[in-house]
Amino acid sequence: MTVDWDRAATLVVRAQRGDTLAMSDLLDITAPWVTGICMRITPAHGEDAAQNALTVVFRRLGTLTEPAALRGWLRTVATREAIRLGSEPRHEPLDEATTPGDAGQEPELKAFLGAELARLPATQRAVFVLREIEGLSEREIAEVLRIAPGTVKSRLARAKGRLRKAWTS
């Protein structure tokens, strides 16, 4: 999901001036991206998490002093909400749309990743998604999740170790 963040910043400014049509447009272009993040972390509660995260951000849109910061703010709120709702241990099925990887990925690998990611705790899954799909650095992930960089490193290592072990078994 590619978002035109320059257009989003323009819409933020219009929305802050009271233009609710701009709010509707801003929701159109950001909701799929936010929902994608939430669904990868908690497929069973991804839509609820996205709705909650977007409600928080849109309610406080007027406090955003730098419109270009919207992307980071949305990602932070969405990730934390998805972890909160997905923190109960469960085996969540990931469908094709929530499986990481591009369209050209081997179907077998895609299915494997989907199934094994679903078995990870939400905290490990979030770190994996932010690093391997969203492309954040370990320092950025630490800031988003409000955890120590060392914790990011260890959760990522555990997630990758678990996937590697499952792949080779």
Binding site: G18, T20, S24, P32
Partner: protein, 152 residues
């Protein structure tokens, strides 16, 4: 990676939650989506039949999903709204006045319908109970009209 969509009702909840001057109602209507939206989404023929304060609606301009419409009231002045209209989604603003509708099919073949009315500002907070009663009556009318109008 395919897009992940939030259905229109979830989107309307988000906008309503961000606008403290708006009242919000939602409920399942006992009619299929096509029949419900043939009423709710028809600003010219549908709206005057379920919105008691509007006698006539005219579309002044239309460009894809962007419209400019004029509403004529039984009392009070005419209003010019800017609107976004597409299947399952309608958002309109005229000065401080806001109106929103959203609909999505339910798994059992009925329709979850949501409705927002109010202002951009918080001044109508005290009017919310009145707005909610008014909107529930409108949902009653939409449900009745959807039961007798042919679906698209």
């Amino acid at each position: 990676m395919s897009d992940q969509h939030l259905d229109p009702v979830r989107r309307l909840r988000i906008l309503a939650g961000a606008l403290p001057g708006c009242g919000y109602v939602e409920r399942v209507l006992d009619a299929p989506f096509d029949a419900v939206w043939a009423v709710g989404g028809d600003l010219v023929a549908g709206v005057p039949r379920f919105e008691s304060t509007v006698s006539r609606v005219e579309v002044e301009r239309r460009d894809d999903d962007r419209l400019v419409v004029t509403t004529h009231g039984l009392i009070g002045p005419r209003r010019v709204f800017e609107a976004i209209l597409r299947p399952g989604w309608c958002w309109m603003q005229s000065g401080p006045i806001l109106v929103g509708m959203a609909a999505t099919p339910t798994p059992d073949g009925r329709t979850l319908f949501a409705h927002v009315e109010g202002t951009r500002f918080g001044a109508t907070r005290v009017l919310r109970p009145f707005l909610r009663r008014k909107m529930h009556r409108e949902l009653d009318r939409i449900e009745r009209l959807a039961a007798v109008l042919p679906s698209s």
